[in-house]
Structure formats: structure tokens, C-alpha cells
Symmetry: D2
Subunit: 155 residues, 4 copies
């Protein structure tokens, strides 16, 4: 069974975050991990491109029942027909999760990933107040290599 | 079409939070709203009991395909067979959402509810850092009556 | 807990089938059952109208995250945001299932309902060849009253 | 983007059907298709083994949130946490679908696949009466090679 990492983040993001996502994808592929993402644009596309350009394999878990919306770096489109509920699948599909930035969709994925006890790492993503819940296992890291190294060390 | 409010929160909670949830359910029923919840124990059961004891109607959106796990105040069990993905349904089913406390499941519901642009109110629930996202439309309130009044005023 | 019956069928149907669906809804309401359906037009709307005009309560489990597509007889819209996957929820939500006519969506619901061991009755619906599977527990009946009587006798 | 074929069928099956599923997997891999399946035993495992032993890539779309139930030939486990609703994902994920035998779960997948207008081929699977619906696009074939050849010719 191959090692899998889900990269989560928004369909639109700053240049800085896109560069980070690209580097995360690259680092995953260089360690022979399979990149799983939501299959669309923005952070998903940047990470996919990073993985693809380093010879990696990219799985895109799409909200619709068709693959037309998939970014061009997706090797294996998983068409779900589940709309937003595909976020749950992206969150729990992989051995570990790395968030880059992110908005409300990413927040739902972080919640599901943590609930399913996946190792979760984040770069410039949601900061969650631990005062209400002792179980926030989201580790904030500074750079792509650190995120990917830590993710692989947990698998 | 009846007015509906989803009340979200954990299956286990402090006495203080359970009392708050009970009061939230009561206030919803007194305004002839239908209470929607996840159908299980803890906050869900306390809110259901509050609504039921004030003559309200209670819908429980259950994770399993059977109704055996439903709390005893549920009038209409919606068995989903979706496991955790039923959180999405709880979050977007109603006209407005009120969170009481909550852990990671509640966080996923808050994210989905905000993403679907529902009015969302919270009592002692997740505080979300707005520095990463301008769209956090979660309004923190202090007491059950205020939460329910504000929720109804948005519908 | 109230008794619930899911009525399944297509969004477009012949006049004859619409009349049957209307009568099914009426019979359910007269026995104080809650009608659950997919919330849209055609068979779903006819059954909803039948139940509503007999003073019944109607739950519509909608594919989208908004209630705008709900037919006007829905009392409680359950917005799912699950698109086609809401068929699973319609199929397993209730204590028993009655199919009136139906196309491929109805076929998926019949399959899920039978898999979840719900009592399932059908009027002019899919005939399933038992030669490949001994578990086809779909009972074909001729008229609405018979369908509803048999469904209630199984709950 | 790689070509993908979903193979669907039961978790327990006769020796004859298991051999057919194995051959289907083999034929898919020999044409460099990616095999998608439900990831568990029986038909799913036999097809996975066939693909794997011919050097193919195998994706298993699992009902649970963990990969422990995956058969040993799965390269990429997609953990969904959706329970039975993962059938929808298996049905619509791929470019084409091949059913080998099958019970009620397979019937739900056939319905979703046809509804999403995927090319669908079946070997000893459900025979669906067309008298109620003109849209049954399920083509019955006799042997694995024919099924896979026809599936690829439609993609």
C-alpha cells in the first residue's frame, strides 16, 4: 500500500501560499508519497503540479460526478457526486493531512481529519483555540519541507 | 414551511452546557420552531428534551441506518447511514444554527453551516481566529434566549 | 417516535402514477404516519400534497443545501447538500418504503432500502429478477391502500 | 489523466465469478487502465489481484475511515467514512463500470452509474426489466475480455 498525504486549502490563494503548496507537493513526490487533494484549482492545483513535476502520482477527489473540473495535474480523478461532502473524503482518505492556508471548506476538513485522528500539520492555516477542547491535534509548522517530513514520520 | 433551527454540540457535556442546551430547545419550541439535531445524547438530547417539554417537534438526523441510538425525545428520526458525513446534513438542514459548546464534530458542523451562509450563533463554543479568513460569520452570544431570538430574527 | 414512510418515485410521471402517489400520501396521513420523500416534484409532490391535504406532516430530504427547490407541501425541509447521495438518506430514513413507478434514482433507493432491510412495497415499479439474488424483498402491490396498509402492518 | 474502470460485485461470490473478476482485473491492467473498486473482499479482491499481478494500479474506495479492511492488493486506499454511501463514489468515480455478479449493493451502484451516464457492462449480473424505463444502459456480456474491450472502446 502506498503512503498517502492529503493536501488541503482554498481554490483561490495568494502567490505566497501557492508557492508553499507547490513545494509541499514536490516534497511528497520526492518521498514517493501519493498526493491526495480536492482536485480543483488554487492550493489543490499548485500542490498537484509540484507532485507531478517531481514524478509523483496525484489523486483528485472531486465534488462532482464528472472530471471536467479537475486540474490538469490529476492522474486519477475520483468523481464523487457528493458536492461539499467530498471534503470528508479528502480529510480522511490519506495517512496524514497538510493544510496550506484555507477557508471554511478547509476548516471542515481539518475538523474531520482531527476527529479521525489523522496526523495533521498546517502552514498559515486556522489557529484553533484549545480552551474549549483539549483534542486539537493540529501542529503548526513554518515551511513545506518541515510539514512533509513530520507527516511522513507519523505514518 | 416550518421554521427550523439546528442545535449542535457534543454527545457528552458539562451540567452547565446541558442546562443551556435544554433552555435553547425550550425557546425554539416556544417560538414554534422545529428543532433539528444529531439525534444522539448530551447536548442533542438536552435540547431535544427542552423542545419536547414545551410541546415542540424534534427531528434527529442520525449517523446510522437504524433509529436505535436516537434519544427518547426525537419525534422524527432521519436515519442516514452516512456516519460522520451526517454532520453536513445537520449543519445545512435548518434555517439557522446554534452551537452549545462542542468538540471536533461540532467544529465540522460550524464550518459547513458558515460555508452554506446559514446564520450561526454560539454559546461557549469554538472561537475562530479571523486573521486567516474574513468570512467567519459565527456570532458568540451569552445566553439561550439571546441565541434563539437572534436566530429567529435572521430567518 | 412517529411512524415514518418514505415514498419514492420520479420527478416526472404519468397522470395515473401521480394519482396513485397522491392516494398513497393521503393513506399515510390518515394513519398518522409522517411522509418522507425527496422533496421535489412529480411523485414526490403528488404524495406530499396527498398527505398535506389529509392533515399529515411532510418531510422533504432535498439534494441541495437550499430549500428553494422544495415542493410547496413540504413542512420540514431537510437540506442535505449531498446531491444524488441524498437518495440513500431517503431510502433508509423511514420505517418502510413505498415506490410508485420510478426510474434510475428510484432503483438506487430501492436497492439501499432493501439492503437496510426496510419493508419495501412497490406499485408499477422496477421488477427485479430474483435469479441472481435471493434477497429481493420488494413486494409488488396493486393499489395505494394495500401498499400503505401493508407498510404499516410491518412497522 | 489515466483511464479508470470500476469493477463492482459482492464481498462473497462463487469460484466461477471470482475467476471472472480476476480476469477482468487482468485485462484492465494490460490495457494500462487503473482499477477502481470498493476495496474489500470477494469480487473486489479478485479483480484487485488480477490487476496487481499484471502490474496494474488499484484504488480501493473503502466504506470506513480506516484502511484496515482493505484487501492486500490495494495500492491507494481511499478511506471515505461514508459507510454504504461510498457505493455512489465507486459507481461514478471511473470512466466506465463493469459488474460481475452482485447483490443489493451492486444494484445501487449500477443504478448510480447508469444515472450518471457511465458506460456499464455486466457479467452474470442484475437483469433489469426495461418495461418501466427506457434508460437502462446496462450491456450484458459473456466474458471478461469482451467486457473490458467494450469498456475501453467507450472511454
Amino acid at each position: 500500500m502506498k503512503k498517502t498525504i492529503s493536501v488541503i486549502g482554498s481554490a483561490s490563494a495568494s502567490e505566497e501560499l501557492l508557492k508553499i503548496a507547490y513545494a509541499v507537493g514536490k516534497e511528497i513526490a520526492q518521498r514517493e508519497g501519493v498526493l491526495i487533494c480536492g482536485g480543483l484549482g488554487g492550493i489543490m492545483e499548485a500542490a498537484s503540479r509540484g507532485a507531478k513535476e517531481s514524478g509523483g502520482l496525484v489523486v483528485g477527489i472531486l465534488p462532482g460526478a464528472e472530471s471536467v473540473a479537475a486540474n490538469r495535474y490529476i492522474d486519477i480523478p475520483i468523481r464523487t457526486g457528493l458536492d461539499e461532502a467530498r471534503n470528508l473524503v479528502v480529510a480522511v482518505s490519506a495517512d496524514a493531512v497538510i493544510a496550506v492556508g484555507g477557508e471554511l471548506g478547509t476548516l471542515s476538513e481539518l475538523a474531520f481529519a482531527m476527529k479521525s485522528k489523522r496526523p495533521v500539520f498546517g502552514i498559515q492555516t486556522w489557529k484553533l483555540d484549545e480552551s474549549y477542547c483539549g483534542k486539537v491535534n493540529l501542529v503548526h509548522v513554518d515551511d513545506p519541507r518541515e510539514a512533509v517530513e513530520k507527516a511522513f514520520s507519523c505514518i
